[in-house]
């Protein structure tokens, strides 16, 4: 499932980033890698998705819906 479909407040593992290079590069650069653990903080029908990357520090990250849909995750 993608990040938008995932339930909030559950520990998620990044399985893949299904996107073309430039976009994927940006996500990797800012700290989202395959096998990282995330927690989705908000759940809304519109607007960006808010996550916390548990693997590389506690910073919150806002991801536009177009970005979030490309992050494939699974429940840990």
């Amino acid at each position: 499932m993608n990040l938008i479909d995932a339930a909030p407040e559950k520990k998620l593992k990044v399985r893949n980033i299904s996107s073309e290079s430039d976009f994927k590069k940006r996500l990797i650069t800012i700290g989202i890698h395959k096998d990282d653990f995330l927690i989705k903080i908000n759940q809304s029908k519109f607007g960006p998705v808010l996550i916390r990357n548990l693997s590389s520090g506690a910073a919150k990250l806002a991801l536009g819906r177009g970005v979030a849909v490309k992050i494939i995750v699974e429940y840990d």
Partner: protein
């Protein structure tokens, strides 16, 4: 030769605060990622020796993905650097170390600065500096730049390091296969002498993950092997080499972080996190956002009005005192009058609105709320083909287009920067807001001022939508939301002062020259010719008196001058006496609000983008202004 120390780190780790503390300078800092989007330099002295301190724009990695990051990597490769101080947010150590691994690969002398150590302690994290130092083979110093903690030790350590000729950094090895690829390429570079910074290992790694950073000479040397390795990586890992190398660094950084840090009980106040939830989760988030915008604009409007009225009397007194001493209507009288008008515009109109805007924005940046505004307005900005990160540029645009245009550097991709760069000049800046309020509100009531604003916003939306259709490949929002911090009014006042100083430094020359030129235009009495040239549009299309043609030319040089020039052009002593109907005022205000803001903005668009963009943007705004004013003329 003066030795050079360069601060390098990821965005929002406190580099600029550190820069200010070390050099006793006042660089702009904020709790918003990517505040420093240009290179800052300052000389400072340790034990009687001068050093150059350089603050580079924040960069997540040495594989650039926006303009600011490109500036950083270009500087690191091509400039003379004696020591790198790698600034890390110690509360986010694992992510910070990914850049440290890359910097170690670059091979320049380095010192690691674990900044924000107080925040790290609050989160219950303890870091073993010694162990970290062993991993990279370079000294590590913990600091809290905001409170000046650890700065002396950092500066002393930097001084000591600069006395050693070339302190060796340790090489951190990747996994077996990747390491083999790197060493194979390194061997190929055995006989190459590098004219830039960076060693064989650094360029071998970049050849695999980001060949764009290599010089044509190195690229030619490695082209075949690089291709084979990239294909092999693709075959084995089923992903591109960039991701593989990046994952290697990520795992190295996480491994080091695990070995050197211990997480204990957090001392962070739970109340702050709860409040943050209110700010980020609907419906309370949108209530706060609405409140924010209302307070923000009311504050700017009322404080701006107050300051503007306070500045009037002394400026008029100064103007009268000087002009009465010069022969009336002489060349020098017009020159002085032009310069004084420039001063009046700057101090009496731009400054009063710019001051509260910059102060309030600085205060909000300090708290970290501006990132939350970007998050909450993302959906709205999608309507104009941008994303929430542009909100800062748009808010700044209400003060002045120039700092707003500079701030677009924090947008990652060219397309977003271009769209923002074209839209920003349409946002009514403080000078145009003054014109709208003074004319529309005075003649037709505040409702028309509101209509003008709404119309401009609709126009911005339509242009944004069209541009986003033409320029495809939109990027989504990827924005770090920093922790909430209490604002420091002292820091905000300081920041406001230096931002204003920077703004005046950039624009005063153009403004004064423009104003003096206007004085000469008046002296030479060429307004009649200018009016004649513009009369087809002014008189026949917009239905306005021909005399207003020269006012619009003055407006191009300085928008706020319109208020002064319109009365002069019509031969009246105050705005209230203008022989214009309410309809004509509205048509005029619409035109003034939408046509290209000013000469200085034109120069900045040209500098930040290209001459072609500046010309196209100017033509677009003039066309839209003419069509809009004509529509208002026939519809109202």
């Amino acid at each position: 030769m003066i030795k050079r120390i360069v601060l390098v780190g990821q965005p929002n780790v406190g580099k600029s605060t550190l820069f200010n503390t070390i050099s006793d300078s006042r660089a702009t800092t904020a709790n918003f990622p990517g505040t420093t989007n240009e290179i800052l330099r300052k000389k400072f002295n340790i034990f009687g020796t001068d050093f150059d301190l350089v603050d580079l724009p924040g960069s997540y990695s040495l594989n650039p993905s926006d303009v600011s990051e490109s500036i950083t990597i270009k500087y690191l490769i091509s400039e003379k650097i004696d020591l790198i101080i790698n600034v890390i947010d110690s509360s986010q150590l694992a992510r910070g170390l990914e850049l440290t691994v890359e910097l170690a690969e670059l091979g320049l002398p380095m010192l690691i600065c674990l900044n924000l150590i107080d925040e790290c302690a609050k989160q219950g994290i303890r870091i073993d500096e010694e162990k970290l130092s062993e991993y990279f083979g370079c000294p590590v110093v913990s600091t809290s730049a905001l409170f000046g903690k650890g700065i002396k030790k950092l500066v002393d350590t930097a001084y000591d390091l600069l006395q050693i000729s070339s302190p060796a950094l340790k090489i951190l090895n990747y996994s077996y296969n990747t390491e083999k690829y790197v060493t194979d390429l390194e061997k190929k570079l055995a006989n190459v002498t590098f004219e830039t910074n960076g060693n064989k290992r650094f360029f071998a790694i970049k050849a695999i993950e980001n060949p764009n950073l290599l010089s044509p000479e190195i690229l030619n040397k490695l082209s075949e092997e690089k291709k084979i390795i990239q294909e092999e990586i693709q075959k084995i890992h089923r992903t591109d080499s960039y991701e593989v190398l990046s994952s290697e660094r990520h795992h190295l950084a996480m491994k080091i972080c695990e070995k050197i840090s211990v997480v204990g009980k957090s001392r962070r106040q739970p109340g702050i996190d709860k409040f943050d939830t209110f700010l980020l989760k609907p419906p309370t988030s949108y209530f706060f956002l609405g409140l924010f915008f209302v307070i923000y604009f009311l504050f700017i409007f009322y404080v701006g009005n107050l300051l503007s009225s306070l500045a009037d009397a002394p400026l008029n007194y100064l103007s009268d005192t000087i002009l009465t001493r010069i022969e009336n209507q002489s060349f020098w009288w017009h020159t002085a009058n032009g310069a004084l008008m420039g001063l009046k515009g700057l101090v009496g109109i731009v400054l009063p609105y710019f001051l509260p805007l910059v102060f309030l924005t600085s205060l909000l940046e300090e708290t970290g709320y501006l990132s939350r505004v970007a998050f909450l307005t993302d959906g709205l900005f999608h309507l104009v083909g941008l994303h929430g990160k542009s909100v800062v540029s748009f808010i700044l645009g209400f003060g002045c287009s120039i700092p707003a245009l500079y701030s677009t550097r924090m947008l990652e991709n060219k397309r977003d920067r271009l769209i923002a760069g074209i839209l920003i000049p349409f946002i009514p800046c403080s000078a145009r807001i003054a014109v709208i309020f003074a004319l529309a509100a005075a003649f037709t009531g505040p409702i028309w001022a509101a209509i003008v604003f709404i119309y401009v916003i609709i126009i911005i939306g339509i242009i944004g939508k069209i541009l986003s259709r033409i320029l495809s490949n939109p990027t989504g929002l990827i924005l770090e939301i920093p922790n909430l911090r209490l604002p420091s009014p002292k820091a905000s006042i300081r920041k406001t002062y230096y931002k204003l100083a920077e703004f005046f430094k950039d624009t005063t020359l153009f403004l004064m020259l423009g104003s003096i030129t206007l004085g000469w235009i008046e002296y030479l009495n060429v307004s009649a010719y200018i009016n004649m040239i513009f009369s087809p549009i002014i008189k026949y299309v917009l239905g306005l008196p021909e005399q207003l043609g020269s006012t619009l030319v003055y407006g191009f040089l300085r928008k706020e001058l319109i208020l002064v020039m319109i009365t002069q052009a019509m031969g009246k002593s105050s705005i209230a006496e203008l022989p214009l109907s309410a309809n004509q005022i509205i048509v005029f205000v619409i035109f003034v609000t939408l046509y290209f803001p000013c000469f200085t903005t034109f120069i900045v668009v040209m500098r930040e983008f290209k001459l072609k963009t500046a010309v196209l943007s100017a033509l677009l705004s003039i066309t839209i202004a003419t069509v809009s004013a004509f529509l208002f003329k026939i519809l109202i």
